[in-house]
């Protein structure tokens, strides 16, 4: 794994013991993981951790943080994290959200843009794509879904580091936890909020960077374009020959884009 020291800490949010992976130094940067859970510490985190303290909360119900049964949709989860940010005095915090985590960040920005300093959405769910459909993870195996997340699942070294080799029982269980919790909050409509295009009008004064793989087979690029159109002043950057995981598939370009945006 990587050199940067990172460890797991526990924070209380209401009745829930929230587990957070923390590492690095400097101004906090909140990372909201996607629908298959936090995959592991990667190159891009090493790069950013030199200047930022990375906070990666592990969503309730995804295995490590216990499930909170009152959380029944992504907006509920957003309210949970708003409380966490407020109580930890992190606001306004810079945030990066991946896929489901991108949807979560967008919901939180809609509710209260001021809780964030800058926002990065990476292949974010949350919008019904104007063209194409969001790939349905619930009708496939976790492994099949993961492979479809990237353009090349066979030779990419970062992908191999995370998911190479035979699936272990621990991996299976973690993925099943993640899939179950994602079903609880995002079953239907699948992976989006109907009213999101209108709601995004409430994101104001929040510098936003939208990152997308041009060959994203999970959340079609058309959704990224719609985010760009609806969030005032946002910037859309796309990566060639890249699927749903630019952090894994195009780490150097990804790090560069984020560093230049966050400053």
């Amino acid at each position: 794994m990587a050199e940067t020291n990172h460890k797991e800490e526990t924070f209380r949010v209401g009745e829930t013991e929230l587990r957070v992976i923390k590492g690095g130094q400097g101004k906090p940067l909140l990372v909201l993981h996607g629908e298959l859970g936090f995959p592991g510490w990667l190159q891009w985190l090493d790069a950013l951790a030199k200047k930022r303290t990375i906070w990666i909360p592990l969503h309730p119900g995804f295995g490590k943080t216990p499930m909170a049964s009152w959380i029944m949709n992504v907006r509920d989860l957003g309210a949970f994290y708003s409380r966490f940010i407020r109580e930890q005095k992190l606001a306004p915090v810079d945030v990066i959200g991946f896929s489901l985590g991108g949807w979560l960040a967008a919901e939180m920005a809609v509710a209260n843009s001021a809780q964030f300093g800058k926002m990065v959405l990476v292949g974010a769910a949350g919008l019904k794509p104007p063209a194409g459909e969001i790939m349905d993870m619930f009708t496939m195996t976790a492994r099949g879904y993961l492979n479809a997340n990237v353009v090349d699942s066979r030779t990419n070294p970062e992908f191999a580091k995370l998911f190479g080799g035979e699936q272990t029982p621990e991996q299976f269980e973690a993925w099943e936890d993640a899939r179950a919790e994602t079903a609880r909050i995002a079953w239907a409509p699948y992976m989006y909020t109907q009213s999101m295009p209108e709601l995004l009008a409430n994101v104001s004064g929040l510098p936003t960077l939208i990152l997308w793989g041009k060959q994203d087979a999970v959340t079609p690029l058309s959704a990224g374009e719609l985010y760009h159109q609806k969030i005032a002043g946002s910037k859309l950057t796309t990566f060639d020959n890249c699927g749903h995981m630019p952090a894994v598939e195009k780490p150097a370009d990804f790090i560069k884009a984020i560093e230049s945006f966050l400053g």
Partner: protein, 437 residues
């Protein structure tokens, strides 16, 4: 003993290769459904049930599956309504309504009440969680499957027994006016039986509700273990479980000759049979299983309780591979027989084999299961032999073994002797050869 007849009402006109290509009945395109053929088959299956009623079967068992040629009974209650009027004597046993997939359980309470009314009080409703694929077919969130199940169950019973109008403000269901006018004829409500594939959570739930548990063609040894888990919980709750608390479904193929019966039995494996009900990722959608069950499954790709699972770990990529898969699937036939998962023969040879199953499990409810493509005349002959020759003998065996059914002894009414639960069934009779999975 309550003796029933069951069939999935399969659509066997589907090309077998289409099932084998995806190793799943669920998901085969409905472009292969021929409406003429479907209409003919549905009527034949209804006629068959009427024939069973006339021959003296105690129960006509129906089930429900969606989006699959494996079972055409996607709206079982419609078939039950037809039988309610077209049959005279037999109970109409629904095993079961997949209540977590029903968006409006109050409507279900009304449907069932009408069936009970029209049949003159012959309805036995039952509830299931629904196979994993049913959650996909009905877009019912599998992560809330247990919660939907529990709440829908409570709502249906309340709708039947609590004078309305009343409000229902639950977690998942919300009604401002619960007051169904037509209520079941049977009071306080029809008897409820629960079928299953021996998931411990369901068995436990049944013991708590004193509902008979009907095991659906599962292996004898783990089935008996689950019956005993039920009996132990029953003991803790202060009652002795008896045959009236248990049921068993058994594939049985009967003909005038052994050869013909064997032919029928082999047809049961059409398309991979039960083993290819649905792909693993559709059998176990997200959150459908408890964490404990997920751990049990972690190392397995398919249902380990069925012979022939895991014969191939990928979809066949060539015709040669498809043909070899087919050969391997039909090659599991002796294994099904060896494990008593299927019984074939003439009435004379079948009865001792059935007796063995009854002696081991001691169920008060027993159902024959007939499926697989076969000419109508062979199928009808099988039903006729079962009804006229096998059924009377089974009834005698049931009496001799004291297999009381839920209409003879109220489930949950049996007292404990010396305050302790006695084990049920006869594990000692399970032959070594049929022990393993």
């Amino acid at each position: 003993m309550h003796i029933m007849f069951f069939t999935e009402r399969a659509y066997h006109a589907v090309p077998e290769d289409e099932v084998l290509k995806i190793r799943s009945f669920f998901g085969v395109s409905n472009k292969f459904f021929d409406a003429q053929k479907g209409s003919q088959l549905l009527n034949e299956y209804i006629d068959e049930k009427i024939m069973c009623d006339e021959m003296g079967f105690d129960g006509l068992m129906l089930n429900e599956h969606h989006g699959t040629p494996f079972c055409m009974g996607a709206v079982m209650d419609v078939e039950a309504a037809v039988l309610a009027r077209a049959t005279k004597r037999a109970k109409i046993v629904l095993l079961g309504n997949p209540i977590p997939t029903v968006a409006n359980p109050l409507r279900l309470a009304e449907e069932l009440a009408m069936i009970d009314m029209i049949s003159g009080g012959r309805l036995v409703p039952g509830w299931v969680r629904g196979a994993g694929s049913e959650q996909l077919a009905n877009n019912a969130n599998p992560a809330y499957n247990r919660e939907y199940f529990d709440e829908a169950h409570d709502l249906i019973l309340a709708a039947w027994t609590r004078p309305g109008p009343f409000r229902w403000e639950g977690k998942h269901f919300h009604y401002r006016f619960v007051n169904p006018w037509v209520l079941p004829l049977q009071k306080p409500h029809p008897p409820i039986w629960i079928p299953g594939l021996i998931s411990p959570e369901t068995v436990k739930w049944c013991a708590h509700h004193r509902y008979p548990y009907v095991a659906l063609a599962t292996l004898l040894k783990p089935t008996l273990e689950m019956f005993n888990m039920y009996a132990k919980i029953a003991g803790d709750l202060g009652y002795q479980a008896g045959p009236e608390n248990f049921g068993y479904l058994q594939p049985v193929f009967c003909a005038d000759t052994e050869e013909k019966a064997e032919e029928l039995g082999k047809n049961f494996l059409f398309g991979g049979g039960f083993s290819h009900f649905a792909r693993p990722e559709w059998m176990f959608p997200p959150g459908y299983n408890s964490k404990e069950a997920t751990r049990r499954l972690a190392a397995q790709a398919a249902n380990p309780n069925l012979p022939g699972h895991g014969l191939i770990d990928h979809d066949p990529t060539s015709d040669a591979e498809l043909q070899s898969l087919k050969k391997a699937l039909y090659g599991t036939y002796p294994e099904w027989l060896r494990q008593s998962q299927m019984i074939t023969g003439t009435p004379k040879t079948i009865v001792p084999k059935l007796r063995h199953v009854l002696e081991v499990l001691r169920p008060g409810i027993f159902s024959f299961w007939l499926d697989g493509p076969a000419p109508l005349k062979d199928r009808r002959r099988c039903v006729e032999l079962l009804g006229k020759e096998v059924l009377p003998q089974l009834r005698e065996i049931g009496k001799e073994l004291g297999l009381s059914d839920p209409f003879e002894v109220k489930p949950g009414s049996r007292k404990l002797s010396n305050g302790k639960a006695e084990a049920v069934g006869r594990a000692d009779l399970i032959a070594e050869s049929t022990m393993g999975a």
